[in-house]
Each structure stands twice: as structure tokens, then as C-alpha cells.
Amino acid sequence: MATLEIHDLHVSVDAENGPREILKGVDLTIKQGETHAVMGPNGSGKSTLAYSLAGHPKYTVTGGTVTLDGEDVLEMSVDERARAGVFLAMQYPVEVPGVSVSNFLRTSATAIRGEAPKLRTWVKEVREAMEKLSMDPAFAERNVNEGFSGGEKKRHEILQLELLKPRIAILDETDSGLDVDALRIVSEGVNRVRETGEVGTLLITHYTRILRYIKPDFVHVFANGRIVESGGAELADQLENEGYDKYVKGGASA
């Protein structure tokens, strides 16, 4: 069973006046089949956690460990992490001019699966996955993220999630900028993947809204670069009613 273990993770970024520490000792263990919601105010370091796990070069790990089934994730390059089964659905997916969605998906699936998917079954697989996300087939011929609306970008991220079948899925504010319909469609996609029981999900969000569609097993409150409280789904209800105020103040005085 796949397990992602984050232990005492410290991460900094280069700022104008030297490195600035953003993650200040994160501990979190995600097992296959579990869904963890990480919730926190803006600027608390939630996205830094997501990008650090995927290996974005902007972030420097200064301490701690991340392992996937005992393998050192921090030693892996970005593509190696993806092939090991770590998937990051990005808050701001990047435009890649000149590369069609269909070519991108196939290249990516080939890399992740270790062999090119059989063309006939692949075409069907993509078509069906797109249908479930209410995506127009013409979408496949557009260039990756180029001119996509916010909702299209997020659907495209979830399409990849469904096709690449990672062991650990990190969803970075997948709900941001979505209207209710798009949120429902995207959440249903995430739930289809979760229902296989083969993915551990780290759902990073600012709002509790998406948790009405995707029920977490664990909720963690993230503030000032670390997890400050953990609980079950009921913790989300508490955040819904009380907001992050007490954590922000607590973080500031700590």
C-alpha cells in the first residue's frame, strides 16, 4: 500500500533579501485510499507544500524528509516523482504552445506507464474520460492550456488525474475560480479516482465548499508554515463557522 510520509519538512524560497523560510516543519502521512484536506489562510504555505512535493525548482528543501514507500522523493527529479506516482493538479496550469492536448496526454501516459498505450484503446479511454468531465472532443486538438478558461484548465488537470492514475494525488486549490457546475464536475472526477481506493489524496483548499462534494477522512489546519491542528471532517465544519482567525493569531504569536 502506497504511503507518502512527510517528516519535519522545511522549505525556503529565494526572496530579494535572502532565503525566506515558508514551510517550518511539516509532518503528514498520507496512505493510499485516504483523503486528507489541508486547509489554511492565504499565505500560510499550502501551495508551497504542493509544489515542493512535486519538485518545483523555485523551492529549496532545507530540512526534513519525504518518502514514498520508503523511497526518498526529495532525491528524485520532477519527472521521476511523477513516474513514481506523485501527481500535482496545479492551481495555475501552464500554457504549452504548439503541443496539442492529445499529444501531451499520450506522451505523458507513455512516460508514466513505461510504454505507449495501445492506440485504439487509448483513443477510447481518452474520449470516455473527456465525456465524463463534459469536455468537447475538439478540446483534444487545442494546445495545452492555451486560451483555456479557468474551468477548462481545471477539468484538463482532472482529466490527467484520471488517465495517469497516480498513487498520490495533490490537488492544489482545484476549486478556486470554479462556478458551482464546474466544481461539481471536477469533484465527481476526483471522486471517481478516489473510489478506486488506489490513490491517496491531498486536497489543498482555502474554502470548505469543495468538501461538500469530496468528503475528507482527515482535515488539517495549515498556518504559518506547518500543520497546527488535525481532526476529522468535523474540523472543516468548525472552520466554516469560525474561520482561520484563531490560527492566524496563534501562528503570529508563536
Partner: protein, 393 residues
């Protein structure tokens, strides 16, 4: 009254787009076209037509100090039946048909060559095989002149291959009879020290179709000047270009389509990728629609993909319209950057770095390559692009 329009679209931190101030094609040149090198002052580098070119690297082609050596270039022409290949002296009148040199190096080439090649395709001959012109540099200095002339309704493909090392200044003329169809592929696959400056003049007869495919990979300095004009209505010109500019290379393509005749069309599309320190690509796209050229339809496009820091692009589209009675006219220029975020995005989907770069560059060129319409040339180009990418990793 000429009107200049410049509509650049997009720029990046690594590449840059320079846009010419309002100007006309004619007044931008420092001297009127002429066959005589003495009619052009030695450029000093500030002139509009020379301001992007590193004169010091032209090995004397621009100031008269370059002198032809015996071992300049070797030219071999392979032609199928229906084609006449001649070597002629300076006085052959066919050498002056397509157009005059417009800058000092082209005039130097015209003033300095001793023998020229004239390739003639008989009227109504439709060639099954391409005419192949191999220009192989032997390490010396050469001045060349080639003419390819198609009789009425003839159809031909010409592939001109430049390889080896040389300092070469040349004029290449294409004269198309009425209804003739000519595709010219000019590949600049020089060794790294080569210097190549050439003017291509195409003159299109009534209803003639001209397709030029310019492919520049090698050389230290390559500066090409493809030009098209029309001798009668109904002509159509397609000018495609692909370049891959590596560290230290200067590759400059300056195009002029002179719509001097009614009801002609032109379509220009050049795409380039750049990588490495001081890779410099220059694209000048001049389209002139003269007052008489009613019914003209023209479009020109330049796209650049900057793969690494340290590369520079100057892209200057320039459309001058002297009549309102046209079918269409437009242009576009954009320089984009293959940046770290794109790389991260692709790699975060399991795609290794080299493959990610290849994916983006291949995608960038694919649409253009498909328009060439010659499968073996297309395959060769894709292979060459791949090789350039391999070499860079």
C-alpha cells in the same frame, strides 16, 4: 502616400521584438538597387538594412576586402530530363532579368562572379524528379550567380543544399514563365564558420506559382534576402522559412514581396527556434502593395521560440499599402519563450526534460513543415530539428 503598419504581438524577457519606426521600403535602403558595387557606400552598421548584422563577421564581403579564392565552393547540379544546365559568362543577358542587387554585398557578388549557372526548364515540361543543386564550401571565398528559369506552364522542384565551410556571396534568380510552378528549397546546413550572404530574386509571370522554402541551421553568419515581384497578374507566392539558431550564430532573413501588379497573392510564414548564448535571429518582413496592385491578398507571419536565456530575436514586420482596393493584407509577429514553468509542467507529468523540450519544439515547427508539401524534405527537416535538440543537451 505609403502607410506603414506594425502590429507586434507579444514579447518576452529573453527574446525581444524590435519594431521599425514608420518608414518605407525604398527610403530605408542606403542606395537604390544597382548591379554595380561602386553604387553602394561601404556600410558602417547604422544603416537600416545593416543595423542588425555583425559586419565584422562578414569576412570582408561588405567592404571589398574579400577576394575570391580558387577553392571557394564546388557547385554540382543534377537535373532530370527536360532541363538544360549551362555555365555562362558575365555578359549573358539572362543573368539580369529577375532583379537588381539591393545592397552592397549582393552588388559585390554580381560585380565579382566569373561564371554563372543557368538552369532552364523547357516550357510545359513537368519534372518528375527535383533538380538538385549542391553548393559545397571548400573553405575559401566565392561569389556566385545562379539562374533558374521555367518556361510557360513548366513545373519543377529545386533543392539547393549548402554544406561545408565557405565565405559566399551570391545572387540566385528564379524566373517563372506564365502558368509555371516552381518550388525551391534552399537548405543552409553549413559548418560552423561559414558566412553566407545571398539575395534571391523571384519574378513571376502571369498565373505563375512560386513556393520558396528556406531552411537555415548552420553557419556563423547567414543573411538571406528572398524577394518576390510579379511581371503580370495572377501570380501567387508562398515563402516559408524555418531556422534553428544556436549559440553564437547570426541568422538573418529579410523578405520583400513587391506587389507591383494587380490580383497577385503572397503568403509568408517563417518560424525559428533559438538556443544558447548570443544566438541571434533577425527577421524582416517587408510587403509593399503598390498603387497599381489592386486585388492583392497578402499575409506574413513570423514566430520565434526562445529555448534558453542569452538568445536574441529581432522581428520586424512591415506592410506598406498604397491602395485601398485590396482583397486582404495582414501580418503577425510573436516571440515566445520556452520557460522553466513549461518544463516543470511537462516534467510533472512524467515527461523527461529532453523529451519535453523536443515536444515543444517539434510542435512549434510541425504546422509549418506540413505546408512544405514535399514528404522527403519534411522528414529531413524534422530529423534535423531533432539533431539540433540532441546536440544541445
Amino acid at each position: 502616400m505609403a502607410e506603414a503598419q506594425n502590429i507586434p504581438a507579444g514579447s518576452t524577457t529573453a527574446g525581444s521584438i524590435a519594431v521599425a519606426a514608420e518608414s518605407t521600403v525604398a527610403t530605408r535602403m542606403s542606395a537604390p538597387p544597382s548591379f554595380d558595387v561602386a553604387d553602394f557606400p561601404v556600410p558602417h552598421g547604422r544603416e537600416e538594412e545593416w543595423r542588425f548584422t555583425p559586419l565584422a563577421r562578414l569576412r570582408g564581403l561588405h567592404d571589398g576586402t574579400a577576394v575570391a579564392t580558387g577553392e571557394g565552393v564546388r557547385v554540382e547540379i543534377e537535373a532530370p530530363e527536360g532541363v538544360t544546365v549551362e555555365t555562362v559568362g558575365r555578359d549573358d543577358e539572362r543573368l539580369r532579368k529577375a532583379g537588381k542587387p539591393v545592397d552592397r554585398v549582393a552588388a559585390q557578388a554580381y560585380s565579382s562572379f566569373e561564371k554563372a549557372s543557368v538552369v532552364t526548364v523547357a516550357k510545359e515540361a513537368v519534372l518528375a524528379e527535383p533538380i538538385r543543386v549542391a553548393v559545397h564550401g571548400q573553405g575559401g571565398v566565392a561569389f556566385g550567380h545562379q539562374v533558374i528559369e521555367l518556361g510557360a506552364f513548366a513545373e519543377a522542384v529545386v533543392v539547393i543544399d549548402h554544406t561545408g565551410d565557405a565565405v559566399l556571396a551570391a545572387n540566385v534568380d528564379f524566373v517563372l514563365g506564365d502558368g509555371a510552378k516552381l518550388t525551391v528549397v534552399s537548405v543552409q546546413d553549413w559548418d560552423k564558420d561559414a558566412v553566407h550572404v545571398a539575395q534571391h530574386n523571384a519574378l513571376l509571370g502571369r498565373d505563375a506559382s512560386f513556393k520558396s522554402v528556406v531552411v537555415t541551421f548552420g553557419g556563423d553568419v547567414v543573411r538571406l534576402h528572398p524577394r518576390v515581384s510579379y511581371s503580370a497578374p495572377g501570380g501567387s507566392a508562398e515563402l516559408f522559412g524555418l531556422y534553428f539558431t544556436d549559440a553564437g550564430q547570426h541568422q538573418e532573413h529579410r523578405l520583400l514581396v513587391d506587389h507591383n501588379t494587380p490580383h497577385c497573392t503572397s503568403n509568408v510564414a517563417y518560424k525559428g527556434a533559438l538556443q544558447g548564448q548570443d544566438a541571434h535571429a533577425v527577421w524582416i518582413g517587408d510587403v509593399l502593395i503598390q498603387a497599381a496592385a489592386e486585388g492583392t491578398d497578402t499575409y506574413e507571419l513570423n514566430r520565434n521560440l526562445v529555448l534558453t536565456d542569452g538568445a536574441r530575436v529581432d522581428s520586424v514586420p512591415n506592410l506598406e499599402i498604397e491602395t485601398g482596393e485590396i482583397a486582404g493584407a495582414g501580418h503577425a509577429s510573436a516571440t515566445g519563450r520556452f520557460d522553466d514553468e513549461q518544463l516543470f509542467y511537462l516534467m510533472a507529468r512524467g515527461i523527461p526534460e529532453t523529451e519535453a523540450r523536443r515536444l515543444v519544439v517539434r510542435g512549434f515547427f510541425a504546422e509549418l513543415v506540413q505546408q512544405i508539401g514535399l514528404p522527403d524534405v519534411e522528414e529531413r527537416l524534422i530529423a534535423k530539428v531533432e539533431a539540433e535538440l540532441e546536440a544541445s543537451v
